[in-house]
Amino acid sequence: MYSEKVLDHFRNPRNVGKIENPDGVGKVGNPVCGDVMVMYLKIKEDVIEDARFETFGCGAAIATSSMATELIKGKTIEEARQISNNAVAEALDGLPPVKMHCSVLAEEGIKAAIEDYLQKKKEQ
């Protein structure tokens, strides 16, 4: 049911964990629905230097979180905001239709973390 890439990112997730003093944090999903993702960003001059995640969820939720962090590392926040859930799913060679909502979680996680960064920047 899952592609090789999904299984690889699920089995060996990249960028797991927290970032100390992150510049942006996005928490999306809901434990009631069975998936929660927290994304931590380290951003310097609007470029994402590091991205890490913690996820409670199924295989697809963990794999999409892992792929999302890979996709945004080194990108500007503008570029990262353009990444759609479909792009995350495609980078994993696709997801089964019932699992597409997991890729939405990844897209929302990226956006929420960037919003948090911009909000903090405004407050400074």
Binding site: P31, V36, T55, F56
Partner: protein, 387 residues
């Protein structure tokens, strides 16, 4: 490969396969044919009917062969209702039934029947008093499973069915998880209808039966011939029926010894997991339960991710998590037991069988705590917020 999903299906016993083989190419006759080849097949399926009847304490003519448990459940419910709908429009079932029962009742609701879904307590057990209070003059059918496929909890069918009997209401039990595992005597249970499926007790897939107590009205749901005393048309699946007969014969002889062996393994597994993994729970551990089933709730980890990691290690289990069923809802059984959604998402079911060994259980005990630890590290929950 370590297979621990016997409640989903079982491998065929070798003796079952051997018994079936002649009925594909040599004894291939149609049981409805009057010549020798047909009658040879007819005799073979009648022998199975006799054997199953004896095993559950029924008469031979009370056994109807079906394509499996799902069809037996559909036939029991829809067949009874079609026959009795002039007498009333109220039906009773439980909130923890298998989907092959629940979905039938849900479709009947759309057709105008009123359905009461009985609640269970936090151990997954039904209360006879609750059933009694739910019975109305218009109640025509009560359907309650004998044991739950997820938790393994055994329901008090005898008490529940006796309530139906005193009011003259038809009582059906889905015995798919109990047939071949625990002794069943339909007269003791007091049920009018009982469904079972061969592939849950080392028989082939695609065959099951419905016990229909003599005198219980039932309208056929598949028409087209005089088969099965006009209750279920269609040329009989002779090899599968013979296989189910053999599986029943084996169960009759070996069930008791097997129960002891498998229960010991199951208990070793539970004790081992409980002593090595913090914050886990065995669902309904104190309730009367099938000896082979262990439903575990693991805090802060989602079920499918445990299932996949076990699969990487060659261990096959099942999960009641939303993500394995294709819907977003976790197990309706765990929700009915009162577990919150976030806990119900973290379920993993081990169901053991006669081919499991102590070495296999040790292997699971070696591997599973590491998987939980790994997934808890990925999870945002259950950690101190202080760095």
């Amino acid at each position: 490969m370590i297979y621990l999903d016997y409640n989903a299906t079982t491998p065929c016993d070798k003796r079952v396969v051997e018994a079936m083989l002649p009925f594909f190419q040599e004894k291939f006759g149609n049981p409805s044919s009057l010549y020798y080849l047909g009658q040879e097949a007819k005799n073979a399926i009648e022998e199975t009917r006799e054997r199953i009847a004896r095993f559950i304490g029924a008469r031979k003519e009370e056994i109807i062969f079906t394509s499996g448990g799902t069809e037996a459940n559909n036939l029991a419910i829809r067949g009874t209702i079609e026959a009795l709908k002039k007498k009333g429009n109220h039906l009773i079932t439980s909130s923890i039934e298998h989907h092959s029962v629940l979905k039938v009742f849900q479709s009947l609701e759309k057709e105008g029947f009123e359905v009461t879904y009985l609640p269970v307590n936090d151990a997954g057990q039904l209360d006879p008093d609750t059933l009694q209070k739910s019975i109305r003059p218009s109640t025509i059918l009560i359907s309650i499973m004998q044991a739950n496929n997820e938790t393994g909890v055994i329901e008090p069918i005898k008490e529940l069915a006796s309530l139906a009997q005193t009011k003259g209401i038809v009582f059906h039990t889905d015995a798919v998880q109990t047939m071949g595992k625990i002794p069943i005597k339909v007269k003791d249970l007091g049920v009018s209808l009982l469904s079972a499926s061969a592939h849950k007790f080392y028989g082939p897939k695609g065959i099951g039966f419905l016990y229909l107590r003599k005198g219980t009205p039932l309208s056929p749901q598949i028409r087209g011939g005089e088969h099965e005393r006009r209750k279920r048309a269609g040329t009989e699946n002779v090899p599968a029926i013979v296989g189910m007969g053999k599986a029943t014969e084996i169960a009759a002889g070996e069930m008791e010894a097997e129960t002891k062996k498998v229960e010991t393994l199951r208990n070793t597994l539970e004790e081992g997991l409980l002593s090595t993994i913090p914050e886990i729970e065995v669902v309904s551990q104190k309730a009367p339960r099938l000896f082979n089933t262990s439903l575990i709730l693991v805090k802060d980890v989602e079920g499918e991710s445990m299932l996949l990691n076990l699969d990487f290690e060659g261990i096959e289990v099942s999960s009641g998590s939303a993500c394995t069923s294709g819907s977003l809802e976790p197990s309706h059984v765990l929700l009915a037991c009162g577990y919150p959604h976030e806990i119900a998402h973290g379920s993993i079911r081990f169901s053991l069988g006669k081919f499991n060994t102590a070495e296999e259980i040790n292997q699971v005990l070696e591997v599973f705590p590491k998987i939980v630890e790994k997934l808890r590290k990925i999870s945002p929950f259950g950690k101190s917020e202080v760095h």
